[in-house]
Symmetry: none
Subunit: 195 residues, 4 copies
DNA sequence: TATGAATGAGTTTTCATTCAT
DNA sequence: AATGAATGAAAACTCATTCAT
């Protein structure tokens, strides 16, 4: 097996461990056991535990969340593009739902781990910019109220997904994810729409 | 010093440590040092580190978040009550903003620590019920659209606060808290309002 | 309650703890809790944990085991006196059976605690001397074989009680105590008896 | 060094510590120091202190005491087989005498530690069964009195060794071990012998 | 006499990482 | 590339004892 494939196997095993135990409780030994390799084997591919965690985080940011990106088309209705963005991603979000707790875990660690923070900030800014651009476009197009705080709504649209993700952790049986998030986000969009 | 006062002193000292280092990195020794007591002294009041963390969590749930509660008045406009609820709490939320990372930390641990989960679930349900009652009242009063999913909006209104709290951790310089959360929540309320 | 009565209450409570947890696992706090007094209260009556354990040991040596003593009557059959000693004490031994594990525990600790050792040695010697005197008398009276090793048999007669006490700890459901001990001891006495 | 050899080295070092300090006073650090390994090194081979003690106990039960076993030959005199058993093992017993305090220590712990108890019970039953079989054979062969309580004598024969082992701890200078034990046991055998 | 908060050295155990093979 | 024994600093927790009240 080549090195990249081996790395990916270790990352996949680590994700299973992290979902089961959480970042705080996961031990290097857990990753080693799950990987099927020996301790030295894992350390051959990742220099440290933090390195492996960064690998896991990158795996999500690159392979999964990058799919959320879209191009803003200034010639089309901002409202329709926002609506499409939210609904088109429903499948992806449903898939991501199972990793939700893990994202939260990473976000929480990010406060104290600069390398985590950078990666997450970068991804956060990409998505925030996309949403803010769409809202701004809508204002220009007179679809949205001109006194709308662009950054507030962009933050809110993103936040509602993270926030309902938290609710999913606390009371999973009560939360229909990503349905509730999409409905809430759509209500927010409708709330800034001109009548 | 009596036992209750001493417990509170230890909790206050622990909060300072937690804000500085985060739950994952905080050591019992840090709590001990911050408390001004000896190791045995702290353990006299809290049987374990988890016990102390539970004490901290309880302190927030009981002394702080309980202030959010209000009585739903079926005779008044649901829209106005929701608006008042959001705006009246601005001061409290601004105060809570500094503890935001800590809440997130606790939420994240809650997945793996049943005692945390129970406490947080209880508090979550209280707030969710309050919001859902207000939305439901608004539908009855014909203020809100009758096809509104009550639980989705209730989850969204709460979620937007938690979610923007996450953003506050990731990119604090970009987030105006709780302004953005209140604006987003108001947009969401407006989005379900009949025209 | 006067001081002696209070001391005895503490000792009684301590015995219950020791039977439940064993000497090695019993903590000062356990004694305190069982006593119904506070920590300082117990320390007022006993200067240290070792002191309290000595108190417990003394309680047994003085109040219980002292009853085993008898006077050797050179005018009577040694065989009959031995037989009577063994059988007369059956009731006491049955009563002592429940404390057996505790005695064993004390014996074991005695290796490393000089104060324990002294007390137990003193008691051991008393009983050994009594048994040896009876065996020696039997030899003089031509009841027992003249090539009998007096100390070996005295040690054996006592040892069989302790040894079956050990068996009682290991496999209580298989041991009929003190029946087996008395039967074995009587067999030993018969084994040195002249035919 | 392979794992089994290293485990045995650690066990050997631990035995030296236990003989010196006793089970109750032996610290993990003592085992670590005696082993010549680091703390983590010892924990790599034994998951806990209790695990290491179990390892020591097993070492004795498997490597030493197992030598006591013999086959009962129904065609030979039970009396002679018993006598041979007792005398043939004199050397082994003398060797075991030095470990006597350690056995006692283990027996005492066994009351409160189920894993110890199981191991010791198993070994106890093996030896008890052997003795009981020999006594039963002797009754069938009319060598021993038919009203002999087989289990009482089997328990007594074993008990006298443990019991004199206790005496050896309490008053080592007075006890000729295993001489006294063998003499006492032989007296017991003679006591059930038909004249 | 009695309380119980407080002490602090000592105990077991953990765990990321290294390194000889 | 891979193994797994070994390291050792650091972690959580213990517990006999003290002492101000």
């Amino acid at each position: 097996m080549n090195s990249d494939a081996r790395r990916q196997k270790i990352i996949d095993a680590a994700i299973a461990v992290l979902l089961d135990k959480g970042v705080a409780a996961a031990r290097m030994n857990d990753f080693v056991d799950a990987s099927g390799l020996s301790k030295g084997g894992v350390y051959h591919h990742f220099d440290s535990k933090e390195d492996l965690l960064i690998g896991v985080l990158n795996h999500f940011l690159e392979d999964k969340l990058s799919r959320i990106q879209m191009e803003v088309d200034a010639g089309k209705s901002a409202y329709r593009q926002l609506k499409a963005l939210l609904h088109d991603q429903e499948e992806l979000m449903a898939e991501m739902g199972q990793y939700n707790q893990l994202f939260l875990d990473f976000f929480t660690q990010a406060q104290f781990l600069p390398r985590f923070r950078e990666l997450i900030q970068y991804q956060y800014n990409l998505f925030h910019t996309l949403l803010a651009d769409l809202v701004r476009l809508g204002i220009q197009q007179k679809e949205f109220n001109e006194d709308t705080d662009v950054d507030a709504i962009a933050a809110g649209l993103r936040g509602v997904f993270d926030g309902i993700g938290i609710a999913l952790m606390i009371a999973p049986e009560k939360i229909n994810f990503p349905r509730y998030a999409i409905d809430s986000a759509m209500a927010m969009v409708n709330g800034i729409r001109k009548v």
